[in-house]
């Protein structure tokens, strides 16, 4: 009895029905060529499987795990988005914040847009102040960067903290997303200097675009992987040194 290539392959892959399996096994006992052919197919399967198997136990790059840790994707927390939706909508209406063209956003810094929106007054409503020519966090944004942990985000905060990481310059930086502004702040002295800011976004797509862009920027800035929750707490308690 002869079997076509497809049937032999299916047998090796465990895809044959019971009757065909029995026929093949019976034939193999007396057909050396068939046995050899099946042996080759099995060897190929094993060769491929064992070639790629080590990938499973490789350490996964931080840039991938960072996307999935609780701190990394605050913007896809839909319950949070839903809770905030009405409030956000009202604020956006009030401030006349227009739809931003996100297409080319990821690689560009939209600092001007954001600053233009808020001014640099450092007033209670402004997330920024100017100090020595640098833009630093102010008000509730400063408070969030100072105190808020990615692992314990208060519902009533205007900001969600994303990644906390050590930049190549050695200082600690933290990414954040907010209703109208998102960005990365880096520790300089007692302040959080704004390194990148992007218009925030209340609704899902904008928040996601914003956070993905920030994660990409952060990945370029960091020396190592983002810190874990315990380290983040320790850093906070020691003043982000």
């Amino acid at each position: 009895m002869t079997f076509d290539q497809q049937t032999i392959m299916a047998y090796v892959d465990g895809e044959c029905d019971a009757v065909t399996t029995k026929r093949i096994e019976k034939a193999m006992a007396s057909d050396a060529m068939l046995a050899e052919q099946i042996g080759r197919e099995r060897a190929l399967r094993e060769q491929l499987a064992s070639h790629y198997a080590p990938v499973i136990s490789e350490e996964i790059p931080g840039r991938l795990t960072a996307m999935l840790t609780s701190a990394a994707e605050p913007n896809v927390d839909h319950s949070f988005t839903a809770r905030k939706a009405d409030q956000i909508h009202a604020k956006r209406q009030g401030r006349g914040f227009g739809i931003v063209q996100w297409g080319a956003m990821a690689a560009t810094l939209a600092l001007g847009i954001v600053v233009g929106q808020y001014g640099l007054g450092g007033g209670s409503d402004s997330p920024f102040a100017q100090q020595g020519g640098a833009l630093i966090a102010s008000g509730t944004l400063e408070h969030a960067l100072d105190k808020q942990l990615a692992s314990a985000q208060p519902d009533d905060s205007d900001y969600r903290i994303g990644l906390t990481f050590r930049a190549k310059a050695g200082n600690i930086c933290r990414s954040f997303t907010g209703e109208a502004v998102s960005g990365i702040g880096c520790r300089e002295g007692e302040n959080w200097k704004m390194v990148n800011t992007l218009p925030g976004g209340a609704q899902g797509d904008y928040r996601q675009a914003s956070s993905s862009a920030l994660n990409a920027i952060a990945a370029e800035m960091m020396t190592d992987a983002p810190v874990d929750a315990d380290t983040e707490r320790t850093l906070r308690d020691s003043g982000w040194d």
């Binding site: 290539q5 080759r40 999935l68 840790t69």
Partner: protein, 162 residues
């Protein structure tokens, strides 16, 4: 965060899948990163109760196809002189092992995309024919004929290399 946690657990397998598709470790991780990004953005489209792994493999595969088509097929020509230089000093067994690794990579890379993805899903990732066919949106008959052709080409490539 169950969704993220499930993706995290899937990551080693996705990386393996991406590696068998792209061969290059950096290309593979770039592919995974794009797949994760798309999954996070489109998480609403995943139906709880269905298999997340199939959904992720499908996303990964679609991005790979798009990327390769957009970029034109990039040739990863193995530099045998480099390979020999790298293994110089290794003992004979390890050298053989390394050369074999390169051979499998090279053989996989020589397959047309539709054969490579079929081989990868069934022979490397262990999907059943039915699952792999559904994931690729093709009839089972199409999958099995791609598998037969892919296997024949691999046997030929690896037979010559041996």
């Amino acid at each position: 965060m169950a969704f993220e946690q499930d993706l995290l657990e899937l990551l080693p397998r996705l990386r393996r899948f991406a590696r068998s598709l792209t061969r290059d470790i950096n290309d593979a991780d770039d592919l995974c990163q794009m797949a994760l990004e798309r999954a996070l953005n489109k998480r609403d489209q995943w139906q709880a109760g269905t298999r997340l792994d199939s959904w992720m493999y499908r996303i990964t595969r679609n991005i790979w196809i798009d990327t390769v088509r957009a970029a034109g097929r990039r040739e990863h020509v193995a530099n045998d002189e480099d390979a020999m230089a790298n293994v110089a000093g290794d003992d004979h067994r390890r050298m053989e092992s390394r050369m074999e690794l390169r051979d499998v990579d090279r053989a996989m890379d020589s397959l047309p995309m539709e054969q490579r993805e079929a081989v990868s899903l069934v022979l490397v990732e262990g999907f059943a024919y039915k699952e792999a066919a559904a994931l690729l949106d093709i009839p089972i008959g199409t999958l099995t004929s791609r598998l037969v052709r892919g296997r024949e080409a691999l046997q030929r490539e690896l037979g010559e290399a041996a």
